[in-house]
């Protein structure tokens, strides 16, 4: 099921485990994320899918007591190697969060933020417009860029957060349940956007919504949790395979709603 040697794989984990203090959140995950694909992480609450996502841009570093064991390779380089600067990594592997979290600044300043902290020397206006167009938000906000981002609707705020993430042109975009706080119409807009964005970016998305995984993801990973072992990866395969003909009976049980 793993394709560790594929030249196209952007992120590879091997024997990846995460502890929060003495609590084992994720155990021995081996998986490879392919370039320009959407990879969905699904599974019940507490299975470690968000923890796994945060390993990819070292956001777990910000959580006191979090310990990461095993390896994560980013384009073949050890993401947790001593020569790696996590700040630099985060500008190359962007993240969109569960609840829209625009800065309490103008729409323009939100998108320009990442450009500024990364020392962008080009034309700010053009880069901001490009990112907003990519996020399918430009037509809705082009006449009010100086307005506070908080005047936007929830769905627009989330697309602004996506624009903010892609403004720095990361290779990978991590999305942690990006539509779970949105209404169905805004959710569809985000899903449409995800399908567009995979032309340019590699996307890893955590979702609680199995239909969403089926709609947007090329590959799907199913994680589970039990008290003895913490979270672990059960099955990782093409989305169509996972949803129609899973190899593992536990995956089938979850997909068909026999447990959550």
């Amino acid at each position: 099921m793993n394709n560790m040697t594929s030249p196209k794989s952007v992120l590879n984990t091997s024997q990846l485990s995460v502890y929060y203090g003495s609590f084992l959140a994720l155990k021995n995950v081996d998986m490879a994320i392919q370039a320009n694909e959407v990879t969905a992480l699904i599974g019940p609450s507490g299975c470690g899918k968000s923890t796994l996502l945060r390993c990819f841009n070292r956001m777990n570093d910000l959580i006191p007591d979090a310990v990461v064991e095993g390896k994560v390779l980013f384009n073949g380089k050890d993401l947790y190697g001593s020569e790696i600067n996590p700040t630099e990594i985060r500008s190359r592997i962007g993240m969109v969060f569960q609840k829209p979290n625009p800065f309490p600044k103008s729409i323009f300043d939100n998108v320009a933020f990442g450009l500024k902290v990364n020392g962008y020397t080009g034309k700010m206006d053009e880069a901001v417009e490009w990112a907003l167009r990519q996020a399918a938000l430009w037509d809705e906000v082009s006449d009010r860029l100086k307005k506070s981002a908080l005047t936007l609707s929830g769905g627009q705020q989330q697309r602004l957060c996506i624009a903010r993430a892609i403004a720095v042109q990361p290779e990978v975009i991590l999305m942690d349940e990006p539509a779970s706080a949105l209404d169905p119409i805004a959710t569809l807009a985000i899903e449409e956007l995800i399908r567009e964005l995979k032309q340019l970016y590699t996307i890893v998305i955590v979702t609680h919504n199995m239909q969403q995984a089926a709609r947007v993801a090329d590959k799907t990973a199913f994680l589970m949790v039990d008290d003895a072992r913490g979270g672990y990866l059960v099955e990782y395969d093409a989305t169509s395979k996972i949803f129609t003909n899973p190899s593992d009976s536990r995956t089938e049980a979850y997909i068909t709603g026999r447990f959550s």
Binding site: N57, M59, L62, P64, T87, E88, I89, R90, S91, R92, G94, M95, F97, K99, N101, P102, F103, P104, K105, F113, G114, K116, V117, N118, S148, L150, C161, R164, A165, V168
Partner: protein, 302 residues
Amino acid sequence: MKIRESFPERAENPISGTIVKYLFFLCVLISLLTTAGILYSLLSQAIGFFFEVPLIDFLTGTRWAPILKPQAYGVLPLVCGTLLVAAIAAVVALPVGLATAIFLSEYAPDKIRRILKPLLEILAGVPTVVYGYFALTFVTPQLQKLVPDMLVFNALSAGLVMGIMIIPMVSSLSEDAMLAVPRSLRYAAYALGSTRLEVSLKVVVPAALSGIIASFIIAVSRAIGETMLVTLAAGATPRMTFNVFDSIQTMTAYIVQLSLGEAPHGSLEYNTIFAVGLLLFVMTLIMNVIGHLVVRRWREVY
């Protein structure tokens, strides 16, 4: 189980409800009425003073000598001394206090913060008379080694120690404002490749700005109104100067000096303290109004 049937009748008692409401309102009234009372007593006694000394002369005169012949009632030397000490204090306390708050809220691990914050607040609880003697008997002699011409009573050591005194006020209130900034905003900034310093200065401080400015205003108002420290360490020489090594007199220190019985009750000299007190009241009021306007203009609502 019949739970519902075991409840007694709970008809609202209109009398006790009303009594409670007015009791609470009475507590509100206490502070409102006190403020009004203070303003009334200041105004009523200051008016008598302003019949004899025109307001314009009081506000623009550059010589203050109510108890020395020839008498003069120009308040500017006292205002100058007050603002000089407050400015020195602000120069110390605002940057140091803000940096302390940033350290506590963004850099310090939880354990360290839980130890440091109460320690800082102890600093705020030290009686001001102790700070006054600290300025006079420790800071001034040390500074005199560097600046031999410096007078024993001087604006600099009073201002420096006052600055140290109000650091906890700035840091504690600013830190509260910064801790209230949602974590999600910090994560958003980190996820874009921001360093800790960038997260602190470009996200957390702007988002907490209204609270931070409020802490500055409260601290500087405190510096303007502080009495004992400046009475002990800054001197009793009303002087129009920006020389920080000179002895000066602040408005509050003057009020103390005169209250100690240097002028007969009811005399023109005596009533100067109400005029000065009224001006002090107006100054802090203006500062608070400016603060509110600044906060309204700059705050980031999250």
